[in-house]
Structures are given as structure tokens and as C-alpha cells.
């Protein structure tokens, strides 16, 4: 503070300047501040530990000679992965997961992009009501509640025990929210961009390919990752709709890793969990680097 303002006459008990306070804090305040700070960081550490422990288990246990449910530094071995390779369904289930989740992701991105574009550009009565209705129904009437009708529907369509069927159901569940989010991205693209392209002779499909999709690309990338993660982590739909273990995705196969005694087969489960997690994390990192959407803060550098 370079300028010292004289206390105004109507404020006879004006507070002392803040720099004075800082220079000579009262000892009581100091102790209270330190205690507060210690408590705060202790709490933060506990919370962090609560969330970090499962992750540490996931990273350490697969390499442990004697895996257990506790987190400890491993006696290093790759035996668990060798056992995993011998398991008949482990690797094929990862392939199934890629097919099912990838299929669902492609369907969600393609159909959501087209639907969101159309809904953003065409004026039809009740458009917003339709969107909100879709979103509401899809988020409230979730997969579990709708499982019986979905099963019957798939049965009639002859899509029981088919990976295509699982992809379709997953995509159907994700589409409303995806359309809703993407429509916002499409709305943000000024109409004049498209009109400009149209005056130069671009067809509607060219407008979509050259102008609308490139501009909405961060949105499409977000939707792609979100759809993939959701479909990758699905258990229930694949569990109910698939019969043949050869077609089961990783989420379902992991459920079958038990020892003869009915105990969870920890060596197998831990190693498999790590393999199961890696593709999703890798995909997130790739998309995040490529398209630069950040989940932490919105300040432009």
C-alpha cells in the first residue's frame, strides 16, 4: 500500500490497514491457523488415500506372487499373466469387448451426429419437448428397469446371443444423451458458415463433411470417449443377452473367474482387471492429447 488513506470522518473506528495485521499477527491466531491447516491437509490425505488405494491395488496386485485383497508391495512375478493367457476365454473376451464397445461407439457417434445436426437445423413443433423427453426417459428408465421388455424385443428380433444385438441396445441407451450434448455443439456453429458453403454449391452432405463435423469435432471426440467407456464397462446387458461364453465381453467373463472352492480367483482377476482397464485409459489419453479437451478448469493458457 503506497497511499495511506486518512480515515473518513464518518468512520471514526476504521479498521487498521491490512498490512499492519499481516506484519504482527496475534499468537493465538497463528496457532489456530496452523491447526486449521494441519486438519485440512489430514482430511485431504485421507480422502486421497481412500481413492488411491484401489488404484494401487490394481497396479501392484497383478504382479504379486501371492495376490490378496490388501495393498502391499508385490513380490514381483508375471505368473498371473501366464495363467491368464492359459484361460480359454480371457483374451477372446477382450476382443469381444472391443467389438461390442467399438460397435456401440461408432453407432452412437454417427447417429447422434446426424440426429443432432438435423434437430439443430430443422424447426419442428415440439422439438425441445422431444429432446427433453428422450433425455428424461433414457436417464430415468435405465437399462435395469427396461431389461425385460428389451429382452423380449431382442428375442423377437432374433438378436439374442448376438454381439450386434448387445451393441445396438447399448447404443440405444446412450444415444439420447449423446444427441442432447451434440446438439449444443451443432447449435454453436453459425448458420452463415453453412449458407456460405451452400452458395458456393456444396451439397448438404458436403456441408456436413466439410463444415459442420470438423467444427463439432471436440464434441464428437467427447461423445466417442464417453460412449466407449460406458459400453466397455457394461455388464448387465451383455450378461443377459449373450448365451455363448465365446461371445462374452470382458466384463462378463471376469465374473466367471472363481476357483473350484467358489473363492474369487484373485491372481486371474487382478491381472485381468489391469488388462481390462488399459485400453480405456489409453483411449482417454489419446483423445485428450489429440483434441485437447480438458476436464480440469477452463482457463485458456
Amino acid at each position: 500500500m503506497s497511499v495511506k488513506a486518512a480515515p473518513r470522518p464518518d468512520e471514526p473506528h476504521a479498521a487498521p490497514a491490512p498490512d499492519k495485521l499481516k506484519a504482527a499477527p496475534k499468537p493465538d491466531n497463528l496457532v489456530a491457523a496452523v491447526v486449521r491447516r494441519v486438519l485440512f491437509y489430514t482430511l485431504l490425505t485421507l480422502v486421497a488415500a481412500f481413492f488411491a488405494l484401489p488404484l494401487l491395488w490394481l497396479v501392484f496386485t497383478p504382479f504379486d506372487r501371492h495376490p490378496s485383497l490388501s495393498v502391499k508391495l508385490p513380490e514381483f512375478t508375471l505368473d498371473n499373466f501366464r495363467v491368464l493367457l492359459d484361460s480359454p476365454y480371457a483374451l477372446s473376451s477382450l476382443k469381444n469387448s472391443v467389438l461390442i464397445a467399438g460397435g456401440a461407439m461408432v453407432m452412437v457417434v454417427v447417429f447422434a451426429a446426424l440426429a443432432a445436426y438435423a434437430l439443430s437445423r430443422v424447426r419442428i413443433p415440439g422439438r425441445d419437448a422431444l429432446l427433453y423427453g428422450l433425455l428424461l426417459l433414457s436417464s430415468i428408465v435405465t437399462g435395469t428397469a427396461a431389461m425385460v421388455p428389451i429382452f423380449l424385443l431382442m428375442f423377437q428380433l432374433n438378436l439374442i446371443d448376438s454381439r450386434t444385438g448387445v451393441s445396438l441396445v447399448l447404443a440405444g441407451g446412450l444415444l439420447p444423451a449423446a444427441i442432447f450434448i451434440l446438439k449444443d455443439f451443432m447449435d454453436a456453429t453459425p448458420r452463415s458458415y453453412e449458407e456460405s458453403a451452400r452458395v458456393f454449391g456444396a451439397s448438404p452432405l458436403q456441408v456436413l463433411r466439410h463444415i459442420v463435423l470438423p467444427i463439432a469435432r471436440p464434441g464428437l471426440a467427447t461423445i466417442a470417449v464417453w460412449a466407449l467407456v460406458n459400453a466397455w464397462g457394461d455388464f448387465l446387458i451383455a450378461f443377459i443377452l449373450l448365451r455363448d461364453p465365446d461371445k462374452s465381453p470382458a466384463g462378463v467373463v471376469m465374473y466367471t473367474f472363481y476357483t473350484e472352492g467358489g473363492q474369487a480367483n484373485l491372481p486371474l482377476i487382478s491381472a485381468f482387471s489391469l488388462l481390462y482397464a488399459i485400453p480405456v485409459v489409453a483411449m482417454y489419453l489419446f483423445v485428450s492429447r489429440r483434441y485437447g479437451f480438458r476436464f480440469h478448469g477452463g482457463i485458456k493458457g
Binding site: S192, Y193, R198, V199, F200, G201, P214
Partner: protein, 384 residues
């Protein structure tokens, strides 16, 4: 290059709003034509209808003699520059300029070369790798122009291309655009709400109001002989003085009475006012108003209330018996606030409008331009 011809062109929006109402207009080949009007007058709708972005409800539109009333935008061979320029943010300048050529399926190397050639003509060759977001407003405008030029269209359509520039840049862009249009010789339709812009740039212009064209003519015609009160009010950087008056016919001919002040009938309306007591509007521009600080007969008088400095001139407002009247005087000659002043319209420049229909009182031959009724279907005789 092509002429643009509209016959009975009407655009009614689904809500029932008629934005363009039975328009007849011909824009000659190579002409720089301005569509001027206040916001909501239908000028932008008309431009978009020419571009094909709006489908005409009825009427015919001919481009270079070809009927394009129902053609899609891409088949009309016109290029449009939008108010926000509509540059594609994910493409660099080069790809933006080359975009029309990409649609025409020109090979990549060839269209890049053409884009560079066009950009050179506009001084953009240094900026080819930039994204539109990295350009200034003036540069963005030139890129949008370059993209339109690269398309080699039959006609350019500009939708307020100068309104996003700051005042100084706008003047430069005005000169630049006019020169460019002259060099290219491409028919250009230009939409603006700024009358100074239209007067400065256009070869001919149309003043629109509520979906109708009120007057078509050269900027000079429209400035000196606005056909009705609306146009008179709209044109001119300082608003025209419009004063209510009544016609008084005596033994010595007709005069105009403004309150108790008696003024001669202006030259243009001389011999045309015969009805004693008819209500008219006397219009005269501040530029064509004589101001005196000494007593003068047959003039409006009152104290000076405001003096605005316009640079080389000053705009003086005088509170006369009738209403405030403004006059432009050379810098240095302006009276002080509160001083009495006497103002008289210049006899040769003043205009008289009939109060009943708002139309200019002038012999049609002398006027030489269309005088159309203010209401009812518009039939616009087109000067050639």
C-alpha cells in the same frame, strides 16, 4: 457477368410476415447497386432470395436472362459475402479461399495456385497459413472477398460487409471495395443500413421500406430529390428539416405559411400548388439552409440552442417559431449559443411534400424518376 432482373418478387415467411412485396427491379450488368433501408425493411431477405437461401413465394428472378427463381443456391453462380464473413474457422486462409474451387472438384495443386493468385491481388499472400481467428477484422473481410472472387461468379452479393469494421477502417474498405468492383466489373448488390455508405459506393441504389422499394436512382438523384418524406428523412448524414406548412393562394400566386412566417414556394414545386389551405411538408437539408445573424424578412427565426462541430463545418440548431431547424455553416461563422438567428431554405434546393400521401411535389418530367404511391401494390418503373 450478368444482369439481375426481378419481376413481382414476393417473399412471405411462414408466420405471415411479408418481407419483400411484389418487387420489380432490374440491376444492370456490371452495376454496383446498393439496397438501403432501415432494419427490418426486407433488404437482407431480398439479397438472400437472390442468393437462393430463401425461396421466393411468387414472382420471377432472372440472372443474366436465365430464370433461377427455383434454382438451388449452388446453381445460381453468385457469391455472397456475409456480415460475419462466414470464414471457416478450422481451415487456414488458403483453404478458405480455395473452398469454392474444392466444391468444383478442382485438383488440390491447381486450386491452391488459384487461391494464391487471388490472395496476391488483395495483399493476402503473407497470411495464407493463418486461421481466420488469427486475423484482424479488415483482413477477415478481404479473405471473404478473395473467396468470393475465386469463385468467379456472375454476381457478388454483399450483406453489410463493412458493418463489423471500426469507423476508420470502414472508410478505407469503402474506397477499396469500390475500386475492386470497378476493376472486376462484376454486377454487385450491396445491402446496407448506412445511407452514407450507399451514397458513397453505389452506381445506383434502391431505398426500401417495409418490403417495398420507395425510390430507385443514382445516389445524386436520391440525395437531391427524395420522392417522399420517408426517403427524405432517411437519406443524408444530417437529417433533413421537415416542417409542416400550409399553402396560401393569394393574388400574387401561392405561398407557404409556416405559422405566421410566409415563404415563397420552392422552385421545384412552383406552379404546382393550387389548393388554398392544403397541408404540405417543407423539406430542406441543413446543407442547403442559409443562416444569418441579422434580421431578414420572410425567414424563420429564433435563438441558437446547439452548435455541433463537424470539422470543416458546424451544425447549428435554431429554435424557430415552428420547430428546431438545423443549418450547416462554415467553421468560424457559427453564432454563439442563445444568439438570435434567421434561417431560410435555399429556393432552388428546397422540396415540398404533400401531407396527404407524403409524395414530392414536382413535375414528373423534371423529377425524371419514379414517383410511386405510398400504399397498394408497387409498380416500379425501372430507369435504364
Amino acid at each position: 457477368m450478368a444482369s439481375i432482373e426481378m419481376q413481382g418478387l414476393t417473399k412471405t415467411y411462414p408466420g405471415g410476415v411479408t418481407a419483400v412485396d411484389g418487387l420489380d427491379l432490374t440491376i444492370a450488368d456490371g452495376e454496383f447497386f446498393a439496397l438501403l433501408g432501415p432494419s427490418g425493411c426486407g433488404k437482407t431477405t431480398l439479397l438472400r432470395t437472390i442468393a437462393g437461401l430463401e425461396r421466393a413465394t411468387s414472382g420471377t428472378l432472372l440472372l443474366g436472362g436465365r430464370d433461377v427463381t427455383t434454382a438451388t443456391p449452388g446453381k445460381r453462380d453468385v457469391a455472397m459475402v456475409f456480415q460475419d464473413y462466414a470464414l471457416f474457422p478450422h481451415m487456414n486462409v488458403q483453404d478458405n479461399i480455395a473452398y469454392p474451387l474444392r466444391i468444383q472438384k478442382m485438383a488440390l495443386g491447381e486450386r491452391r495456385a488459384k487461391a494464391l493468385e487471388t490472395a496476391r491481388g488483395l495483399g493476402l499472400e503473407e497470411l495464407m497459413d493463418r486461421r481466420p481467428g488469427q486475423l484482424s477484422g479488415g483482413q477477415q473481410q478481404r479473405v471473404a472477398l478473395a473467396r468470393a472472387i475465386a469463385y468467379r461468379p456472375q454476381a457478388f452479393l454483399f450483406d453489410e460487409p463493412l458493418s463489423n469494421l471500426d469507423a476508420r477502417l470502414r472508410l478505407e474498405a469503402r474506397t477499396f471495395l469500390k475500386r475492386l468492383q470497378g476493376e472486376l466489373g462484376v454486377t454487385t448488390v450491396f445491402v446496407t443500413h448506412d445511407q452514407a455508405e450507399a451514397l458513397a459506393m453505389a452506381d445506383r441504389m434502391a431505398v426500401m421500406e417495409a418490403g417495398h422499394i420507395r425510390q430507385v436512382g443514382t445516389p445524386s438523384d436520391i440525395f437531391h430529390r427524395p420522392v417522399n418524406v420517408f426517403v427524405a428523412n432517411f437519406i443524408g448524414s444530417t437529417p433533413m428539416n421537415l416542417l409542416p406548412a400550409t399553402v396560401a393562394v393569394g393574388a400574387d400566386g401561392a405561398h407557404l405559411m409556416l405559422g405566421a412566417v410566409r415563404l415563397p414556394v420552392p422552385a421545384l414545386a412552383a406552379g404546382l400548388l393550387h389548393d388554398d389551405g392544403e397541408e404540405v411538408v417543407l423539406g430542406f437539408r441543413p446543407e442547403y439552409t442559409d443562416l444569418s445573424t441579422e434580421v431578414r424578412p420572410n425567414s424563420l427565426s429564433g435563438p441558437v440552442v446547439v452548435v455541433e462541430n463537424l470539422g470543416a463545418t458546424a451544425l447549428v440548431s435554431v429554435e424557430t417559431e415552428v420547430q428546431i431547424v438545423q443549418a450547416v455553416v462554415p467553421q468560424g461563422d457559427e453564432p454563439g449559443i442563445g444568439e438570435p438567428a434567421w434561417v431560410t431554405p435555399q429556393h432552388a434546393r428546397a422540396l415540398v411534400y404533400r401531407k396527404a400521401d407524403g409524395l414530392l411535389v414536382a413535375k414528373d418530367k423534371e423529377n425524371g424518376r419514379s414517383v410511386e404511391p405510398a400504399a397498394g401494390p408497387q409498380t416500379e418503373p425501372v430507369p435504364t
